[in-house]
Amino acid sequence: MLLAVPTQYQPQDFLPIVVQFVLAIAFVAFAMITSHLLGPRRKSVVKDEAFECGIESVGNARTPISVKYFLTAILFVLFDVEVIFMYPWAVNFRQLGTTGFYQMLVFLALLMAGFAYVIKKGVLRWNEAR
């Protein structure tokens, strides 16, 4: 009894998430609307200008940024997807036994080889312009 958990999960189990979602939205909406209603509004051109340490802002803020960030994002996408493959494996680790472990070792070895390559290629060398 102490260890009682539902043996069979039902789609309805997910229903409370909706409840929570409604609550969260309600709270956020409340906060936004209230502050909108309560707060004063005094607009002016100078005030609306984007903050740039007190000087006039120069150029468009949405300029291209260092490709390093892009690389990081791409790497994340790739590695994250590989990690996804490990979740089912981890959950079923004990059933898969030694064979599964060795297979995952191969997988990890390949993954880490790619990882080592990427690191060695200098993706994280932020001080170098590329």
Partner: protein
């Protein structure tokens, strides 16, 4: 399977070798790797069908033979990357490794037994090629080729996948033999799912048709080949096509062999075949750039290979499979030589039109000779491998009664003689001008490779029995 493992591991090793920044080392190592894998590959010859990954991959004679072709093609192609070595290309190790990895994809394509492996094979092959197509980063044409190839490739992969999903929905399995079983022994309620099966099948054909650049899904080919650096374009038009056709054949023979299915796909495939032949050959006639001509020629050869698909006769060891095997080998060898010469000439003379070849026979007899041999082979003139390739494919078709198709194909190959002779005429019968008076620099290494290719082509043309009927 050995070759897949070796290629992956050595490909990775090659990647790390790139950190030594020694391009001189890379080329021999690459050739060594390919030679080693090629040798190891044939260990599996006549070992019977060996299933891997719960039968998702099957290594049998069919796959070993086609693996041999793609590996051999890569091996003889690699010497033409020597310019990268000499120029000190910084990413050479990456290029080589991508080639090795894409070969893994090609091997998966020729040995898959499960649609997942087909999909993965195509993607491993294609994704590497997307990158390589754009490897000339500063060149906008290369960029465009990469983008076009990528967008279209991803698009048609989507179509292929949708087809797979529908076939899965109709049959409940991804395993080729089980699909065929499910079609032949319909479960209750299967009738209502049949349209889904057929639509899925056709969508898969469209996807495969794109990968082998069969009309009307060929439109990307000339542009992409033209923009892609020649070395990789050669890889695309040989390895990708060979693997694609082997995969296509497996799909037809093992998944949809049933007569009722045949009634559905035969007209489609025949129409594709006729259209491909027409567009490939007529298109090639109109080209002024040799590279584009070779691109259209690769389309037209897809047409000839499609004839073999149309005429398949039931098993992977039949005349069609043998025809495709021989044709792919002859075509690959000849195309590699053609692209190789075009690359050498284009690198030296900075032009890719026919006139760029003027007087080549005087300045570089060897280049002229090997391009001649390969052109004759592509045109299907006897004494070269191309003739027997066409011969086997056509006889497979005649044997199965597709005489009209063969007559059309023969007419089209007459057309093809026109554009294959044009480089020969330029080289031998036109005089040099100021731009083409100087000899194209060729290293001994490349000369050796070209001679080897010419010898291979002639060998295939004189002793076809070495390869014919191997399966």
């Amino acid at each position: 399977m050995n070759s897949i493992i070796l290629l992956s591991v050595l490909g990775l090793g090659n990647l790390f070798l790139g950190f030594r920044r020694s391009n001189r080392l890379l080329l021999p190592v690459m050739m060594l790797i390919l030679g080693l894998v090629l040798t190891v590959n044939f260990i599996d010859w006549n070992e019977g069908a060996q299933p891997f990954f719960n039968g998702m991959l099957t290594i049998d004679n069919f796959s070993v033979a086609f693996t041999g072709i793609v590996l051999l093609t890569a091996l003889v192609l690699v010497p033409f990357s020597q310019k990268y070595v000499l120029d000190g290309e910084a990413n050479l190790a990456e290029y080589y490794s991508l080639l090795l990895f894409s070969l893994v994809g090609a091997i998966m394509l020729v040995s898959y037994n499960h649609l997942l492996m087909l999909f993965l094979g195509i993607e491993i092959l294609s994704v590497a090629m997307y990158v390589l197509a754009g490897s000339d980063k500063r060149n906008l044409r290369s960029n465009e080729a990469a983008l076009k190839y990528f967008l279209m490739g991803a698009f048609f992969t989507g179509i292929l996948l949708f087809g797979m999903a529908l076939v899965y929905g109709a049959t409940g399995t991804f395993v080729l033999s089980e699909i065929s079983f499910a079609v032949q022994n319909p479960a209750p309620g299967f009738e209502s799912l049949k349209p889904m099966l057929y639509i899925g099948m056709l969508l898969m054909f469209i996807g495969m048709g794109f990968k082998v650049s069969a009309a009307p899904f060929h439109f990307w080919t000339p542009d992409v080949y033209e923009g892609t650096p020649t070395f990789f374009a050669a890889f695309m038009s040989t390895v990708v096509k060979t693997a694609g056709f082997a995969a296509f054949l497996k799909l037809l023979v093992q998944a949809f062999p049933a007569a009722n299915a045949q009634g559905i796909w035969l007209p489609t495939l025949t129409a594709m075949c006729v259209l491909t032949l027409l567009i490939g050959n007529v298109g090639a006639v109109a080209q002024t750039s040799i590279k584009r001509m070779l691109a259209y020629s690769s389309i037209s050869h897809a047409g000839y290979l499609l004839i073999a698909l149309v005429a398949y006769n039931g098993q992977l060891e039949g005349a069609s499979a043998n025809g495709i095997l021989f044709y792919s080998l002859a075509y690959s060898v000849a195309t590699v030589a053609a692209f190789g010469v075009v690359k050498l000439v284009a690198d030296a003379r900075q032009r890719e039109d026919y006139d760029g070849l003027n007087g080549l026979a005087k300045t570089n007899p060897l280049l002229a000779f090997s391009l001649t041999v390969s052109m004759l082979s592509l045109a299907g003139i006897p004494l070269t491998g191309g003739f027997f390739g066409k011969f086997f494919v056509f006889s497979a078709a005649v044997e199965n009664g597709y005489i009209g198709l063969v007559v059309f194909a023969v007419v089209m190959s007459m057309v093809s003689i026109y554009y294959y002779l044009r480089p020969i005429i330029s080289m031998y019968m036109r005089d040099t001008d100021a731009e083409t008076a100087e000899a194209v620099p060729v290293t001994t290494f490349q000369a050796g490779a070209l001679l080897l290719l010419a010898a291979l082509t002639v060998l295939l043309g004189v002793l076809p029995g070495l390869v014919a009927g191997a399966l």
